[in-house]
């Protein structure tokens, strides 16, 4: 230490105290040094002084010195070497705490020079008589592997760990499993081994040891063991059943993480169980622990709700009688309320729809605008889902429109449009009331919805031409979605009442083709113009084509993706409702997962395909996000701000309407190839609500030509479009959003 700090100031005083002859003074000085370190002051200059205090009988002081060492080992590796002797000596200390502490700290230092001295003591500690030392040493092996894999292999630590799975102490077993899993994952990530011949392949004999240790170790150990069990490939149905039976009792653990990990194991091994009765029983046992989590703090509730939401998509019947548990309280945070409403709609049936509606009406009178909109959307979803309740839903909506609160009215209009699409020609009596609120609408989506209704029912609305005239007058000032809808509505009007609306159609085609900035609007106007002038009969067939009624999605994610996610219940993937590849990225784990999937059977292939499309689609989507500020607005959370996850689970659901998920769009558009049973289902549900952002990204980035096709909004479904299930209205919505 040729350069010493100046002989004054805080660090100098500390250094004097660290060298004091009084024990207490020295210990106090160490504490003050750590305190300075905590607040970010540089006390690395005191390294030699602190080091002198390392040899002590006072365990607390030892820990503090070790803490200091760990903090500065990265920046001062050459100084750490001075501490090696003490470390090695400590691993022979009679006190097991000191032995464990020394071995743990050596593993944490991450300094190359220390590592070479680590092997011998580690060898000893793995065989220590004290379980606390053994379990600490087990984890240390994983850290050593992270730094120098060769050392672990050369010294036979790996085999030693595999032997330790049979240790008598369950905590040692749990830590060993955790360490082996870490090594396994990073070995696969670096290409040193593959899933088949991995360092930690779970054999039948290991399986039995794990199942025994599972019931005896701590909560964290259980999570580690359960995660290992989730990786096990059962040989036959009997073995799967056996695993499920042994894991089910974990549902009664007080720690939510254990419960979710157990749910995951069951979901995975249940795939091989073919006895319907057994499956039903397992699923039934799964629900109560998840409901119990609802008495926890809101953060935990949210995780539970997201997982329940996923499970319900696969098994809508599990919580049939429990809808009231999900009723929202005024004080619930927004993210919890949004999930609860989603689940309530999922659980809606003819028996409970009255309770649901009065509850949703209640929410619609709250102050929180986002939540009010979500509730009104939920009313619409209920109407579309349950035919028998549609009329009651419409009545509730009318009551809400009567409140004349601006955002309530606008949302209700949007929702009414969807009800008309599901039940055409049923609630025409409502139209005058909707039209009387025309002046209050200022949001594009609400305006566009009302215009669509007017156009669709032009024959029953006497003053349709006058109403549309208002929008034609202000045509160039309106948002593009409104322009597109106005255009289509006027053309519809013309085809229905050709005599009285010749002037207005001429005017709008003129304005749209000449004065409009948007190529979409112009293109559509040109197409209409040509259709009308060439062959009015064809125009009628195109524009007034019969449209299939919409239906509510049973799943918010594509069925194949759902199956994938259900295997990951209780992980981030199940909370985001996205495959893990999309947010873990190209890291080691991502590679692991991809490889993992490559081995799965044919039944998993469609899932894989879906994943690829999703990944490709999300990249395209990101590109678009940059130049379109409007899609970003109102996304309050960190999740949404990310590039890859451009949608927050909770907040963005409000914006995107129903819990529509962009994934669906992507899968439906690109997954045309895997249509069959799975791909074909996906697009249909999507036609409800406002459409997803994801789909648009695809249009824009994919092929400019696609815009033209989509512009032909009222094309009758033909095989040539390759998207037979896509509703024309949805395409308009999609375009409109951008």
């Amino acid at each position: 230490m040729s350069i010493r700090a100046p002989r004054k100031g805080e660090n100098y005083e500390l250094s004097v105290d660290l060298n004091s002859e009084y024990r207490e003074k020295r210990k106090d000085a160490i504490k003050r040094t750590i305190a300075s370190m905590t607040v970010g002051k540089d006390v690395s200059g005191l390294f030699p002084d602190v080091l002198k205090n390392m040899q002590t009988d006072d365990l607390e002081q030892k820990k503090l010195v070790y803490l200091y060492l760990m903090n500065y080992a990265k920046t001062q590796p050459e100084l750490v070497i001075l501490a090696v002797n003490t470390f090695v000596k400590d691993t022979d200390d009679p006190n097991p705490l000191v032995r464990a502490l020394a071995i743990r700290t050596m593993g944490c230092l991450r300094a190359e020079k220390i590592i070479d001295y680590l092997c011998d003591p580690l060898q000893k500690c793995l065989k220590d008589e004290n379980p606390y030392v053994r379990k600490t040493a087990a984890l240390c092996v994983a850290k050593l592997y992270d730094l120098k894999p060769d050392l672990v292999l050369d010294n036979g630590f790996l085999d030693q760990l595999l032997e330790m799975i049979a240790d008598s102490n369950p905590m040692v077993v749990a830590n060993t499993v955790a360490a082996l899993t870490d090594i396994h994952v990073s070995a696969i990530g670096s290409g040193a081994s593959s899933e088949d011949s991995g360092y930690f392949t779970i054999t039948t004999s290991i399986l039995n040891k794990l199942l025994i240790a599972l019931n005896e170790c701590s909560e964290w150990g259980r999570v580690a063991i359960l995660n290992a069990l989730a990786r096990y490939q059962a040989h036959d149905e009997k073995e799967s059943e056996h695993i499920c039976e042994r894991v089910v009792p974990q549902f009664q653990h007080a720690n939510g993480a254990v419960v979710l990990a157990a749910v995951k194991v069951i979901m995975i091994h249940m795939r091989k169980v073919h006895r319907e009765e057994m499956t039903r029983q397992l699923v039934r046992k799964m629900a109560p622990p998840l409901v119990t989590l609802l008495s926890s703090p809101p953060e935990v509730q949210w995780v539970a709700l997201r997982n329940i939401n996923l499970l319900l998509q696969k098994r809508p019947d599990i919580l049939q009688n429990e809808m009231r548990v999900f009723f929202c309280k005024y004080n619930d945070p927004l993210y919890v309320k949004v999930e609860k409403v989603d689940i309530m709609v999922r659980l809606a049936s003819e028996n409970n729809v009255d309770a649901l509606l009065s509850e949703l009406k209640e929410y619609a009178s709250e102050v929180d605008v986002d939540f009010v909109r979500k509730s009104i959307k939920a009313i619409g979803q209920t109407a579309v889902k349950i035919d028998a309740a549609a009329e009651r839903c419409v009545n509730v909506l009318l009551e809400l429109i009567n409140t004349r609160v601006s955002y309530v009215v606008q949302e209700a209009v949007v929702v009414m449009k969807d009800i008309f699409r599901k039940y055409p020609k049923t609630y025409e009596g409502v139209i005058p009331i909707l039209c009387s609120n025309l002046d209050e609408l200022d949001e594009p989506e609400a305006k566009a919805s009302l215009i669509w209704i007017i156009g669709e029912y032009a024959n029953t609305i006497d003053n349709a031409a006058d109403l549309l005239g208002i929008f034609v007058d202000s045509f160039t000032e309106e948002a593009y979605p409104v322009q597109l809808q106005t255009l289509t509505a006027v053309v519809k009007l013309f085809l229905i009442k050709p005599d009285s609306s010749q002037a207005i159609v001429q005017r709008i085609l003129n304005t749209a083709t000449k004065d409009c900035d948007s190529p979409d609007v112009r293109d559509r106007a040109y197409i209409y113009w040509r259709l009308l002038s060439m062959d009015p009969a064809a125009a009628k067939a195109v524009v007034l084509a019969h449209r299939p009624p919409i239906s509510i999605p049973r799943t918010t994610v594509a069925p194949s993706l759902l199956e994938e996610l259900l295997g990951e219940v209780g992980t981030l993937a199940s909370v985001y409702h996205k495959p893990s590849e999309t947010f873990i990225g190209k890291g080691r784990i991502g590679a692991d997962a991809v490889r993992n999937r490559a081995e799965l059977g044919d039944d998993q292939l469609s899932a894989q395909k879906a994943l690829q499309t999703v990944a490709a689609g999300q990249q395209a989507e990101n590109l678009l996000d940059f130049d379109d500020a409007s899609t970003i607005e109102g996304q309050p959370s960190g999740l949404a701000a990310t590039g890859i996850l451009s949608q927050t689970p909770a907040a963005a659901n409000i914006i995107a309407g129903t819990s529509t998920n962009p994934l669906d769009d992507l899968v439906s558009i690109f997954g045309g190839g895997d249509s069959g049973s799975s791909g074909g289902l996906a697009p249909a549900p999507m036609s409800f609500g406002g459409g997803g952002f994801g789909g648009m990204g695809q249009f824009g980035a994919g092929a400019p030509g696609a815009l033209g096709t989509a512009g032909l909004s009222n094309m009758p479904p033909t095989p040539a479009t390759a998207k037979p299930n896509m509703h024309p209205e949805q395409q308009e919505d999609l375009l409109g959003l951008f």
């Binding site: 803490l67 935990v300 995780v303 009231r324 873990i584």
Partner: protein, 448 residues
């Protein structure tokens, strides 16, 4: 993979103490702190921020991570997780760590954390491995390896004497048997008490929503059996109930033998030392049907009878509103305590004038949260209370919340009337003192 670290942050969004983050780059914790602060500043209300925040990585090569966070008094706890792990793993660890801090310091606040930073550091080291695995989290075992700040230490520092004594140093460490040598993970070996006692508290929390017609929309009772054991040796307890059928959806402390429960409906266990939660359950009034596990419990329909009635009369006028709330106890023998009734008066409410009927009731207005609070410390059986008042708003239509939140305690009362039949202790020969107590709390939303 796993938990990368934990950060304790003060109200201003500055980290107080954080774990080592030794396997990540130094910028990693900073990015997480930033991400959370960013999300908080963007949200209208801090409680509406998504509890799991996605944190993009700084370097292209790294995988992005996620941050679980929650608020506890004036401390915000962040838990960074990476890889496809369970966010609940993070939350469970945060909760466990907060419980440990609570156990050690009595309260968890920014001040106590700063004051005891050395102990907190040691606790972080012992509870969380740098590879992302939680280590020792049972308070029982922790006490052996991290010494709680002693009372004497505290007294000295309060008195202003800055002497950090080392009175506790090396106190019997490595002594008889050594730590972690016990065959039962949750119980230390060789415990000795002069007075052997075990107490059980049955605590039930009623969560209910009542609509404007005083009809119960949903009600659930979540119960807990809290225990405090001070028993020598390794006692083996069997706790049986006269009416175990009222308990559904039970979760248990790992010490409970699950097989005994499913066969005999009694709790058989070797208790941990000190305080622990033996079991949590849901009370379903129509238990006879639900407990057969053929149908998932459909408890909500019938519900439990509420111990009180509320009659809110709220009259909204232009630019102002007046209200008259009457609270009546329906209990005939017991009194309800610590009643707190809250109402959010809406944006910009001001000029609050209230009269609470009797002397022992008081009201206050939290101008930041715009919440009117009416507190009654003790409501004798069948008594009736009222609060009358008015407030004005800057907008023409006042928008107070459509619901009143009622919180209350009822000592020595349980909704389920769960009765302990007997507690048998075998394996040890001493006489012990047993105590049982019931207690109820409630959070009821009453709409008007």
């Amino acid at each position: 993979m796993g938990i990368d670290g934990i950060i304790l942050m003060d109200n201003n969004g500055r980290p107080i103490i954080q774990s080592g983050f030794r396997s990540t780059s130094p910028a990693y914790p900073l990015v997480h702190v930033d991400a959370v602060n960013d999300a908080l500043s963007k949200a209208l209300r801090p409680q509406d921020v998504d509890p799991v925040i996605h944190v993009p990585s700084l370097n292209i090569g790294d995988a992005p991570s996620a941050c679980c966070h929650l608020q506890s008094s004036d401390v915000r706890v962040l838990c960074s997780i990476s890889g496809n792990v369970d966010p609940l793993f993070g939350f469970a660890f945060i909760q466990t760590f907060l419980d440990i801090l609570q156990e050690y310091f009595g309260t968890v606040s920014a001040a106590t954390l700063r004051e005891n930073f050395d102990t907190v550091y040691q606790l972080l080291e012992e509870t969380l491995d740098s590879g992302g695995h939680p280590l020792t989290t049972s308070p029982n075992a922790l006490r052996d390896i991290v010494l709680p700040p002693s009372l004497l230490n505290k007294l000295l520092s309060v008195a202003g004497a800055n002497i950090n004594t080392t009175i506790n140093s090396g106190s019997g460490l490595g002594g008889a048997g050594g730590p972690f040598s016990s065959p039962i993970p949750w119980r230390k070996a060789g415990l000795r008490y002069t007075a052997n006692e075990i107490y059980f508290d049955i605590v039930e929390n009623l969560v209910a929503i009542i609509n404007r017609n005083s009809v119960t929309l949903s009600s659930n009772v979540f119960g807990k059996i809290e225990a405090n054991a001070k028993l020598s040796g390794t006692p083996d307890c069997i706790l049986s109930f006269t009416n175990p059928n009222v308990l559904v959806d039970c979760v248990f402390h790992p010490c409970v033998r699950l097989q005994r429960w499913s066969q005999h409906k009694s709790l058989s266990f070797i208790p941990p030392d000190g305080k622990f939660i033996l079991s949590e359950y849901r009370y379903a009034p129509n238990a006879s049907r639900a407990s057969s596990t053929v149908t998932p419990a459909s408890s909500s329909r019938e519900g439990v009878t509420l111990p009180f009635a509320l009659k809110p009369e709220i009259d909204l006028q232009d630019y102002s509103a007046s209200f008259n709330i009457i609270f009546t106890s329906r209990l005939t023998a017991k009194s309800i305590e610590n009643v707190l009734i809250e109402m959010n008066l809406g944006e910009g409410a001001s000029g609050i004038k209230c009269v609470a009927s009797r002397g022992t009731a008081s009201w206050a207005f939290d101008s930041q949260k715009r919440v009117l609070k009416w507190e009654i410390s003790n409501v004798p059986p069948s008594s009736s209370w009222n609060l009358r008042g008015s407030f004005s708003t800057p907008t023409i239509a006042p928008r107070p919340s459509r619901a009143l939140q009622v919180h209350f305690d009822i000592p020595t009362h349980t909704f389920s009337s769960l009765k302990v039949d007997q507690l048998k202790v075998s394996g040890e020969s001493y006489k012990l003192y047993k105590g049982f107590r019931g207690r109820s709390t409630g959070n009821v939303e009453w709409r008007w």
